[in-house]
């Protein structure tokens, strides 16, 4: 039964994603991509458990590497998106 719940989440999230992103104007497509780089760093959440639990050495090493890579995306992605979006200005009237 749990698999069915997960698939329901997949279906709804996919539709929601399409509806949300369709409205992003072309001018913001680069920040959208760097922003989604940051969001895809959500793997960090999964990697935390692998890196910090009482497991064998291999799991800890792999988990820590995953934490490092995902942190690059989270920190770098949000900062560069913020830097970029700060450049978009309206015409001064």
């Amino acid at each position: 039964m749990e698999i069915i719940y997960l698939l329901f989440i997949v279906l709804l999230a996919a539709f929601l994603g399409f509806e949300l992103i369709r409205k992003v104007p072309a001018t913001l497509h680069t920040p959208l991509m760097s922003g989604s780089n940051a969001i895809s760093g959500i793997t960090l959440v999964g990697a935390l458990a692998a890196s910090g639990s009482d497991n064998n050495l291999l799991t800890t090493i792999l988990g820590t590497a995953a934490v490092a890579l995902a942190s690059i995306n989270v920190v770098g992605g949000y900062l560069v998106t913020d830097r970029m979006l700060g450049m978009f200005k309206k015409k001064q009237k």
């Binding site: 001018t27 760097s34 780089n37 969001i39 959440v45 639990s53 890579l69 690059i72």
Partner: protein, 462 residues
Amino acid sequence: MNDIVTVINLAYVVAAALFILGLKLLSHPDTAKKGNFISAIGMLVAVVVTLLDQQIISYHFILLGFVIGGAFGAWKAKTVEMTAMPEMVSLFNGFGGAASLLLGWATLAGMSLITLKTESAFTFITLFFTILVGGVTFSGSVVAWGKLSGKMSSKAVIFTGLRELSVLHLIGMVVIGYFFTTDPSNPVWIYCAIALSLSFGLWATISIGGADMPVVIALLNSYSGVAACAAGLATGNTILIVTGLLVGASGLILTNIMCKAMNRSLMNVLLSGFAKPVEAGEKIEGEIKVLSAQDAFYVLEAAQAVLVVPGYGMAVAQAQHAVRELQSLLEENGCTVDYAIHAVAGRMPGHMNVLLAEADVPYDQLYEMDDVNPRMENYDVVIVIGANDVVNPAAKEMKGSPIYGMPVIEAYRAKTVFVLKRSANAGFAGVDNPLFFKDNTRMVLGDAKDTINSIIREFGDD
């Protein structure tokens, strides 16, 4: 379910809501910065609450990984040039894919022998899928990064047997997938899967040319999200599923927009390495008329409406600030200045918009192709800076042209067209451009930045 697990899951719901709200606010330049901030809060909530998990007993390695990754990410974000954004996004796509691959692998390596026996096939199939998609994303992105940053040739690498090689990879994945799900305790299968996925990503990307990079980056962006989603399915983590899919959908929409802008199907782009090169069609007749920067100034001084069409060449020449200066001078002179940006101008979606924003060009002066084409006759001068294929009339006129059917900015319908170009050679796609031979076209040869600066100096002397 104990209390802490409930709290964690509730916090994930909040985080998901913040991500969704953040993306919603991203739909307008005025609110986008706030949206990015809200999305970052969502990430903070998700990460902090995960640390409460009772499974986590040691924080040393987490801290180590986070400090190393975070410092590198912050340094990259602060120092990257806006012209180099395509490389950076590619690289980050790759890191996202690699993180998912490692997470999938770590999850498997952390399973006890009993778990390996009792866990459902669904878990192993999704784990396998995580590792495949993560690996393809990683190696594909590294190749894309190499091509974009000039560390390797941006030309498509094509050789006979490439199609067979790819088909072999796909068959190999299915076979290994079967062995892995039936015998997950044997680590050999996982090594095979990692090797196969890395190799597939390499061959699939290396055969795609530089001009198709916007499609490839958008697609790899999507893959990095799909990999995170698959990891979420494998570990039963709902926030990974939802967020991964948001990214997956985003990348897929951008991929679709890019393909439409080139009038090609995704399959056509991905398999372009397998196609035979198109024979050069009809020869273009005519003469190229060259104009000096000084004469260009006289025309611009008299112009009432100017349209600027930037392309990748503007990024290479770093000419965006000079363009902005020229814009101010023209506006002081009573002339209106608009910008027309083709969806595939540059090396990633929205690349030109960011460069112009960096140079302080207001975003409400940037127009899409469909906005400017109907009123093209009203422009006295169209300045094409480092763009070629996106203004190529061959897309409309020459049936034999490889870009025939692609929607283009119809610059040739304006009164005068200035093409700023290093030399009169064919563009990135290697396609001849009849625009250069039109009666109303003038070529201003030389480095785009130098040319614009010369025109700016003429304004000063005036």
